[in-house]
C-alpha cells in the first residue's frame, strides 16, 4: 500500500508525471508484449516464415527424389552414441538404416531397423544442389547424413519413398505464402470497399453492405469447390497458385471491410478528423494521414486472424483435389496422400506430421492475432 510519508508539510497536490505521447501502434506494441502466449507465438510464426524462405537449407533430401525401395519407410530416430569396432561406444550422431523383412503372418513386407547399418549425421553437411532465394547455388544443408549418398527419413516416407520432412518444409512456402498473399488481396479489397462504405455512407454504403451480407450468407465451400474445380488441370502451377490464392482471399475481405467501415463511421465524427477537414485536407489526405494510422493496430490484428483461415481453406481445397495439384507441394497436397483410413493405418506419419505442422502454424497465428486484438482494443485490460 502506498501511504504518503509522514512529513509535516502538506503534500503537493497531484504529481503526475507528464504522460509520454506514444503513437497508437507503439502503445499497442507495449500492451502486446505483456501477452505471454501471443508474444511466444510471434516468434513461432517468425520461425515458420523463415522456414518457408530458407526451406531447402533445412531439408535432408530433394523433395522430388523417389525411391521405390523406401516406399512408406517409417520415421527414423536420431541416436547419440554409436558402438565402436572395439565394443566401446563413442559420441556420434547417427540414424539406423532400415532393412526389409517379410512378415510371415501378414504375408507382406515390413521395415525393420538394421542395427548394423549406422548412418552418421552432422550439421552443415553436403547434399543436393539448390538455390538460396533463387540467387546463388549451394549444396550445404543444416542437418543430415554426412555421406550425401545416404538418405534419412526423420518423419517417414510417402508412397513413392519421398522424405516427408523435407516435403513439409518445402510445403510451408506455398501454404504460408498463400495465407500472406491472400491476406494482402483481402486487405486491398476489404480496406477499399470498407473505406468507401464507411467514408461516404449513403447508398454506396448500403450497396456494399448488402454485397457483404450476401457473401457471408452462402456456404462458401461448395462455391469455392465450384470455382476451384473450374481451374483447368493443365494450367501451369504458378497460374493455379494465383487463382487458388484469389479464391481463398474471397473469405477474408468481408469481415475486414466491416471492421474498417465501423471504424470509419465512428471516426468520422471524432474531433480531430473534423479539425483536419476544416484545415482543408482532401478526403484522401484525411484518410491517409489521420484515419488509417488511428486504426492500423486493429487492421493488423484482423489480418493476422485471417491468415490461418486462408491457410485452412487452401489445405481443404487441395486436400479435396480441387485446389493446388501435385507436383506442387503444399500442406494440403501432402495431406491428400493421407486420404483414406487404410493408408493412415499403414503409415500414420503421412497424417500426423503435416497435421502437427498445420495445427502449430494455425494455433500460433490465432494466438498472435488474439493478442494483437486485445492489445489494440483500448477497453481491454
Amino acid at each position: 500500500m502506498n501511504t504518503l510519508t509522514t512529513d509535516s508539510t502538506v503534500p503537493a497536490e497531484d504529481e503526475v508525471a507528464a504522460p509520454v505521447l506514444l503513437s497508437p501502434l507503439a502503445l499497442t506494441w507495449r500492451k502486446f508484449k505483456r501477452h505471454r502466449i501471443a508474444y511466444v507465438s510471434l516468434y513461432i510464426v517468425g520461425l515458420i516464415y523463415l522456414m518457408a524462405i530458407f526451406g531447402e537449407f533445412l531439408t535432408t533430401s530433394d523433395i522430388h527424389e523417389t525411391s521405390t525401395r523406401r516406399a512408406f519407410a517409417p520415421p527414423m530416430g536420431i541416436h547419440l552414441f554409436a558402438p565402436d569396432e572395439d565394443g566401446s561406444s563413442r559420441f556420434q550422431l547417427h540414424a539406423k538404416g532400415l532393412k526389409l523383412e517379410v512378415d510371415k503372418v501378414a504375408m507382406r513386407r515390413v521395415f525393420a531397423v538394421d542395427e548394423e547399418k549406422i548412418i552418421p549425421l552432422g550439421f552443415f553437411v553436403k547434399g543436393y544442389e539448390y538455390k538460396v532465394l533463387g540467387l546463388f547455388s549451394t549444396n550445404r544443408h543444416f542437418f543430415g547424413p554426412v555421406n550425401p549418398r545416404d538418405t534419412v527419413y526423420f518423419m517417414g516416407a510417402d508412397r513413392l519413398g519421398r522424405d516427408i520432412m523435407s516435403r513439409i518444409i518445402i510445403g510451408t512456402r506455398v501454404s504460408m505464402s498463400i495465407g500472406l498473399v491472400g491476406v494482402i488481396v483481402s486487405l486491398v479489397i476489404g480496406v477499399t470497399l470498407g473505406g468507401i462504405s464507411g467514408f461516404f455512407g449513403g447508398w454506396v454504403d448500403n450497396l456494399i453492405q448488402r454485397l457483404i451480407e450476401f457473401i457471408r450468407s452462402i456456404p462458401t465451400i461448395p462455391l469455392w469447390m465450384g470455382l476451384a474445380a473450374a481451374i483447368p488441370l493443365d494450367w501451369p502451377p504458378l497460374k493455379t497458385y494465383f487463382v487458388v490464392t484469389l479464391i481463398v482471399s474471397m473469405i477474408g475481405w468481408t469481415s475486414l471491410a466491416r471492421e474498417v467501415r465501423g471504424k470509419f463511421l465512428s471516426l468520422r465524427h471524432e474531433d480531430f478528423i473534423i479539425a483536419a477537414r476544416l484545415d482543408g485536407l482532401s478526403d484522401m489526405e484525411v484518410i491517409r494521414k489521420h484515419m488509417v494510422p488511428s486504426f492500423s493496430s486493429h487492421i493488423i490484428a484482423s489480418l493476422t486472424l485471417a491468415v490461418p483461415l486462408m491457410i485452412l481453406a487452401e489445405t481443404s481445397l487441395s486436400f479435396l483435389g480441387v485446389g493446388l495439384q501435385p507436383p506442387v507441394v503444399s500442406w494440403g497436397t501432402l495431406l491428400k496422400e493421407a486420404q483414406n483410413v487404410r493408408t493412415i493405418i499403414e503409415a500414420p506419419w503421412l497424417l500426423i506430421a503435416p497435421a502437427t505442422m498445420i495445427v502449430t502454424a494455425v494455433l500460433a497465428l490465432n494466438f498472435l492475432g488474439d493478442g494483437l486484438r486485445d492489445a489494440a482494443d483500448p477497453h481491454a485490460h
Partner: protein, 353 residues
C-alpha cells in the same frame, strides 16, 4: 503528549430523539477492493445506525464510498471487493437480529432479507433495469419471490404501485420494456420495484440525480410519504445539500471511506463541526446571499484511493491542518454537543474543556 481522542460508545443515544433499538446497526465496517494495483479501502471503518421512520442522509463527494457502503449492507459488492471487517446487524420485525456481514453470500437467510426487508433504489436508472424484460415482470418477480400470492394478485399490486409512484396509465406501462420509458419513468419504476414488498428499510442511492427538478421533488416527496406510511427507515445517499435540507432527519458526512461527522440535520446546517462539512456547506449557493461571488470549491483534489494520506485523511485539503498532530494519528469520532465528529480540533477541545 499527543491528545488522545476519546472513543465514544456507539450505543449511547448519540443521535437522539429515536425511540427503541435501531433498525440497522453498522459498526466498524470495512469494505475493500483487492485490485492488481493495490487494496482500495472504499469503506474504511464506518459506524452508523438507521432507525425506523427516520431518514438518514449520507453526504459526500464522488468516490467517498457512499454507494459501496450501501451495497455492503445488501452484500452486493462485486468482486474484487469484499467486506473485510465489521458487522451489519439488522433487527427484523419480530425482534430477532442477524449480522448481514457474517451470513453466507448466497444463503437463503440473506436472500429473504434482500428485496423484502431491505430494498434498494440504484444510482443509474438507465441501466439498473433488465433491458429486455418487461417492467411489470420485473416488479411482480420481486413480489412473487417473497409473498405467497397468485400471479394475478401480484400483477394487481404492481399496477397499484406503478400508479402510486406517478406513472400514468400504469396498466399499459406494466407491459412496457425499459427502453420504451424515459429516464424519470424508469426511475419511478425502479422505486415501485423497491417498494413492492413494503420494505422496512429503503436504501436510495442518489435516486434523483438523473431527473429534472420537478420530477426530483415529486420523487423525494413520494419517498417521504411512503416513509411515514410504512414506517420505513430510509438511507438516502446524495451529494445535493438541498435534498438533505428537505428530507433528512439525520445526516452522516463521509470522506474517503469514513464518516467524519454525523448529527441531526439542524446541527449540521447550523453548526457544522468538521472542516470538511464546513467546506461542503460553503460550496453551495445560499438563498439570501445576494452577492455574486464565485463559490469557493473545496481546495485541492480527493487523493487517489490507493494513496491515502497518513493520519487524518482530509489533511491534504484542510484549512485548519495542524502539522505534527493531524498527520500522526487518525482522529476518531467523538461526541461534541449534538454531533459526533472526527477531527483533532474537537478531540483536543473536548479534552481541554
Amino acid at each position: 503528549m499527543q491528545p488522545t481522542p476519546m472513543p465514544i460508545d456507539n450505543s449511547a443515544p448519540a443521535i437522539s430523539q429515536s425511540e427503541g433499538p435501531p433498525l440497522l446497526e453498522i459498526s466498524g465496517l470495512k469494505t475493500q477492493f483487492f485490485t492488481d494495483d493495490g487494496v482500495v479501502k472504499a469503506v474504511n471503518g464506518v459506524d452508523l445506525n438507521i432507525h425506523s421512520n427516520r431518514t438518514l442522509c449520507v453526504l459526500g463527494e464522488s468516490g467517498c464510498g457512499k454507494s459501496i457502503l450501501a451495497r455492503s449492507i445488501l452484500r452486493i459488492v462485486d468482486a474484487p471487493g469484499r467486506i473485510t471487517d465489521g458487522s451489519i446487524v439488522y433487527r427484523s420485525a419480530d425482534g430477532r437480529t442477524v449480522d448481514l456481514a457474517a451470513v453466507r453470500p448466497g444463503s437463503r437467510e440473506l436472500r429473504s432479507v434482500r428485496g423484502d426487508d431491505i430494498a434498494m433504489i440504484f444510482q443509474e436508472p438507465m441501466s439498473s433495469l433488465g433491458p429486455i424484460t418487461r417492467i411489470g415482470k420485473q416488479i411482480t418477480e420481486t413480489i412473487l419471490l417473497h409473498r405467497n400470492i397468485s400471479k394475478a394478485e401480484a400483477r394487481e399490486t404492481a399496477i397499484e404501485l406503478l400508479d402510486k409512484v406517478g406513472i400514468p396509465k400504469p396498466a399499459e406501462r406494466f407491459n412496457a420494456y425499459p427502453f420504451e420509458l424515459s429516464g424519470g419513468m424508469r426511475q419511478r419504476a425502479m422505486i415501485a420495484m423497491a417498494l413492492s414488498c413494503r420494505p422496512r428499510l429503503l436504501i436510495a442511492d442518489e435516486p434523483t440525480t438523473a431527473l429534472d427538478v420537478t420530477t426530483q421533488a415529486q420523487i423525494l416527496d413520494l419517498i417521504d410519504e411512503l416513509k411515514e406510511e410504512l414506517e420505513m427507515g430510509v438511507m438516502l445517499i446524495t451529494h445535493d445539500l438541498g435534498v438533505v435540507a428537505e428530507v433528512a432527519e439525520d445526516v452522516a458526512v463521509m470522506y474517503m471511506g469514513k464518516v467524519v461527522e454525523k448529527s441531526d440535520v439542524y446541527s449540521i446546517f447550523e453548526n457544522p463541526q468538521h472542516p470538511y462539512t464546513r467546506a461542503l456547506l460553503d460550496s453551495v449557493p445560499r438563498i439570501g446571499v445576494t452577492r455574486r461571488e464565485r463559490l469557493p470549491a473545496i481546495r485541492g483534489m480527493v487523493p487517489h484511493p490507493l494513496a491515502t494520506p497518513s493520519g487524518c485523511s482530509f489533511r491534504t485539503r484542510c484549512d485548519s491542518y495542524m502539522p505534527s498532530i493531524c498527520d500522526r494519528q487518525e482522529p476518531a469520532l467523538v461526541q461534541h454537543g449534538e454531533t459526533q465528529v472526527a477531527c483533532f480540533l474537537h478531540s483536543r477541545e473536548s479534552i481541554h474543556d
